[in-house]
């Protein structure tokens, strides 16, 4: 089963957009691991950047929704 996991693709449904959440967390973790000066600040910096990304994506999503609904 583990071998086929890396051979055959997984069937994703409409809820595949939620996979952006772990992606954003990992991007924030890598970026802040490089950028942060002191490692003790790392967890709070990662949480901060995650929130920043999520809020940014939500704002973009709402903006595009209104653009498509009312302006197009």
């Amino acid at each position: 089963m583990i071998a086929w996991l890396f051979v055959q693709p997984i069937q994703l449904g409409r809820d595949h957009l939620w996979l952006v959440v772990p992606l954003c967390i990992l991007v924030a973790a890598v970026y802040k691991t490089i950028r942060v000066k002191h490692l003790r600040d790392l967890p709070i910096q990662i949480v901060g950047l995650c929130l920043y990304i999520f809020v940014g994506l939500a704002v973009l999503g709402v903006a595009f929704h209104f653009l498509l609904e009312y302006a197009a």
Partner: protein, 184 residues
């Protein structure tokens, strides 16, 4: 470990190569072990999550060249994914009914037929990567490669300026003694 400012261009080159080959290894080489381990875990997790979602054809040098080029920035993981994909492509193409099409690369003059047979064989083996898994898988593995490029750039810069180890913690300094007070 505290900061040690020694400029050594060869160190930057070795650190950059290590960082490309094994994500995080460049940071470990420069004395930033904890950062290196975090980077190694995160970048490998991201790349192999992508391959787990998309299967063997997540790494696809023939159709998705741009994604392939950034996937190769993950070093050994990307190369392993390419090797895995290449073996599967050779196995699939060796089973084509038309012997003239049995080539791992598109056959000159019969490219459309080769691509059609290749796509049908992928679907028959249930390894064809289609939307939405294709987007998610390539985003995960490609972004892992782009982030590793950032790590390579970081260690090359750190190596060139000779900054080794973690930055020293800023401790509380005692104020200088006032005039008339005895220095400790």
């Amino acid at each position: 470990m505290t900061e040690n400012n020694q400029t050594y261009p060869g160190r930057a080159l070795v650190a950059g190569l290590l960082a490309w080959l094994i994500p995080g290894a460049g940071h470990v080489y420069l004395g930033r072990t904890v950062r290196g381990v975090i980077l190694c875990v995160c970048i490998h997790a991201m790349f192999w999550s992508g391959v787990a979602i998309g299967g063997v054809f997540t790494v696809e040098p023939l159709r998705e060249r741009w994604w392939f080029s950034v996937q190769m920035a993950t070093g050994v993981s990307g190369l392993a994914g390419w090797y895995h994909q290449d073996r599967m492509r050779r196995r699939i193409t060796s089973q084509f009914e038309d012997p003239q099409l049995r080539s791992p690369m598109p056959v000159r003059g019969r490219r459309d037929e080769w691509w059609k047979a290749y796509t049908e064989a992928q679907a028959g083996d249930r390894v064809a990567l289609v939307y939405p898994a294709s987007v998610v898988a390539r985003a995960y593995s490609g972004i892992a490669g782009m982030l590793n490029l950032m790590c390579v750039f970081d260690v090359v810069c750190l190596g060139l300026i000779g900054r080794l180890g973690e930055p020293a913690r800023a401790g509380r300094r005692k104020p200088p003694p006032r005039p008339g007070e005895d220095a400790p």
